[in-house]
Symmetry: C2
Subunit: 473 residues, 2 copies
């Protein structure tokens, strides 16, 4: 299908080299219908792509076409070659990693973002993008009951947000390091269950992996505040400079919640920058019954919540907050003549992070927050939490399986009572048919299945059938 | 318009909390028509947003709605509140920064990307996304006549690509630094005209600004290879460790092309990692008459070309290449249990950069490369180059203005012969009516107007009228 000689449609009108506008209308509406059918009946696809590495690459020609090809053929290849190799994150039976989904209003907003194609690097380069970013960030603080004075922005990923936090912390601890480079004495603290992206951020920032301490966790996989205090004491006695600690609200392996108030107190006493990673769990703080998840977070120096994880916003769109924007700016800002403007009193977001190119990501968040409203999103969250709680009850009521961690959010961690091999075999059996996709982790050194529930299109039946697949004799 | 009491439409069906599918179809098609009209008749909008910082924020309510709101009202606000505050990068008379544009096929691909919402962090997490990324990256190397053995990937921005390059260079120069932190002896080299994002990357990586040398340029704003050699010699004599140099193919201020072959030889002799920033100019290498822009680039350790700049691909989508993927991987990879898979022989792109969350960005590049083909894109490029050359001739033929740099790509840099104040005044006059947006830089210490031509929808008439506005008595 890909090897036929192409017929060119592009460049029909040399004064307008783009696709003719009526062709855009026609294919745009075709794709809207395709997406409507996709979202309406996703279960026709296996969740997990089949095939081996290289299958798609080998099928595609080694070179791009010389002459343009008709849209019809591109879409045919999309359907026949691409789709079978897609792992469907937006599938109601995708229970791996942190299940994510994109809601219809967010998809529509992304369409507009692509059409406007603005760069929110400076206020002037698109005031609407900057101010909608400020607005949605402030709205989220309001929903979460966090300090309204915090500075908020949207970064692509929680990983790059962690990098911003580490670099800002470095700036505060050693302001001279921006010019002079690092002293080699800075020490960062994460827990054994902090997401690896925080460690990667510290390595990227030049801290050195041997200067990253992995603090022990308690029986509930929460960072031990006592162990943190002791580690800091020890490093100080060695003439090192503790400068950064990360606490997590909803760890990746078990959605544990670190004791943020205690950690915050230790950070304050010792002058550490406290970064709270609420990428997954933070959004749940908008539910009154879960607001305690965020206890102590108002003392953080930086805080992250990642709307793609639970809020039905497509990748990528991570909210980064800080109480000290002047430190973040001091870490990142540079004056280039070609980026100076005559505007006074505006935020130029490029000065607060690595990336100069910044998509209009706030638009999809704004669409979602308005279309669903707080109560609409709360209902979506509660539905997922209820499904996870139900599945957790089935597991703990069974004599063949055991919960590996309490079900406090939308994640169910469990294993076979027969040991790691049996658990691994069970996971493969669940995933092999393509009907479900669950992932795994290690808890207390044991292989553990993770079922993450949170896709907006997951139905009770999906969870019931997952349990039937798990518990099949 | 934003303050009325909302009527909720969300949650009509508690089993399906998303927008009803027929509503998605209806609004999706409405938006396709809106975008078609937008692309077809963009000149009805002023290029540059009007208003003052805070204008939009003040207009929006301080809190998000409790109950969901109808789509109708969200779109009404989009049109009435957002659009007037948008600076239209996709406008045919946007000549500021590097003029960018999103073509219709790329917009359609972004719609699909949002609907699929996959994360290309691992091969397994979406094989199609990983393999289309490998395929489009390889296709581009073929078009540019660069080594087919290079490893390619898509990063959000040229800024983050520069960060990857610096961190990889650091890893090669001081492999022990990943564990131990930095020695404080590493020195990086950029030119006075290297983009500020490279300096920001080095600062982020902990190199220290005082360890970044700004090598002098020649009369054509090209890095002086002799000055680079001398600077390295001097640093070596001080027992410092030169480790990284950036050369640019198409600088931001004047689209100068650094002498890459000479710089590459110096880097090779002294063991420096050579990063070539072709974010803007690199893509022009696909034109036979411009292929010499890339002379010497095949000796680079890393190379970047940013398809949003000239290739009509919407933000964000930056091609990052390296000859040493094992070094990049050694710099960034971490083993987290919850991200391990049983797949062998595949590339997991998360291991080659900071971000774990990675959108399916290859899809839009694939659509564009196929829809236009090499010849279609070449025609688009040549059209922009011809317009820039024409404008350059008008400027140099006038006795009121002078070119500040040769017009070798799609950028025209010029100033008034009456000095900086007159040039600044001219720029404000061009921009003030909202009919055009041009930006500025400094060349040889003098205020210089930059006119960047490259939007797919820019017509000859747009450039002719811009010249009329410039040359108006």
């Amino acid at each position: 299908m890909i090897d036929d000689a192409p017929e060119s449609t592009a460049m029909a009108d040399p004064a307008n080299p783009d696709m003719p506008i009526e062709e855009f209308r026609r294919y745009g509406k075709t794709l809207i219908d395709w997406i409507a059918d996709y979202l309406d009946n996703p279960r026709r696809y296996p969740v997990l792509a089949s095939g081996q590495p290289g299958d798609l690459r080998r099928r595609l020609p080694p070179s791009a076409p010389i002459e343009g090809e008709p849209m019809e053929r591109i879409l045919q290849d999309f359907n026949q070659a691409i789709i079978p190799m897609v792992t469907h994150w937006n599938h109601p039976r995708f229970f791996a990693y942190f299940s994510i989904s994109s809601s219809a209003p967010a998809i529509l907003a992304e369409l507009l973002t692509a059409a406007l194609d603005v760069n929110a690097m400076l206020w002037k380069s698109c005031p609407a993008a900057t101010e909608l970013e400020q607005t949605t960030a402030a709205w989220m603080l309001d929903w979460l009951g966090l300090p309204s004075a915090w500075f908020g922005m949207i970064v692509d990923s929680a990983s790059n947000s962690a990098l911003q936090a580490v670099v800002a912390a470095r700036q505060r601890a050693e302001p001279e390091s921006r010019a002079a480079g690092l002293s080699g004495r800075l020490v960062a603290y994460v827990s054994e269950h902090t997401h690896s992206s925080v460690e990667k951020a510290a390595i990227t920032a030049g801290i050195g992996r041997s200067n990253i301490r992995h603090i022990a966790v308690d029986a509930g996989f929460r960072m031990s505040a006592g162990a943190l205090r002791e580690a800091i004491r020890l490093d100080l006695s060695r003439n090192l400079k503790p400068f950064f600690a990360a606490a997590t609200v909803g760890t990746t392996s078990s959605t544990a919640i670190d004791p943020v108030p205690g950690i915050a107190a230790i950070c304050r006493e010792n002058g550490l920058w406290l970064h709270v990673d609420g990428a997954y769990g933070g959004a749940l703080g908008m539910l009154p019954e879960c607001r305690h998840f965020l206890d102590g977070v108002d003392e953080a120096d930086s805080f992250v919540v990642n709307p793609p994880k639970l809020m039905t916003v497509p990748l990528d769109c991570c909210l980064f907050y800080t109480r000290s924007p002047e430190v973040v700016r001091a870490a990142f800002a540079l004056e280039a003549e070609y980026l100076k403007t005559d505007v006074r009193g505006a935020v130029d977001y490029m000065d607060y992070g690595v990336a100069l190119g910044r998509r209009f990501r706030a638009l999809k968040l704004w669409f979602v927050m308005r279309y669903f409203g707080r109560e609409g999103l709360a209902a979506i969250f509660r539905r997922g939490l209820k499904m996870a709680a139900w599945l957790g009850e089935q597991v703990s009521g069974s004599d063949r399986f055991e919960l590996a961690a309490p079900v406090n959010m939308g994640l169910v961690c469990f294993r076979s009572r027969q040991g790691d091999d049996a658990t691994r075999e069970l996971m493969n059996r669940i995933n092999d048919g393509g009907a479900f996709f669950v992932s795994h982790t290690a808890l207390n050194g044991r292989f553990t299945i993770r079922v993450a529930i949170g896709n907006i299109r997951t139905q009770w039946q999906d969870v019931e059938e997952l349990w039937a697949a798990i518990s099949k004799p």
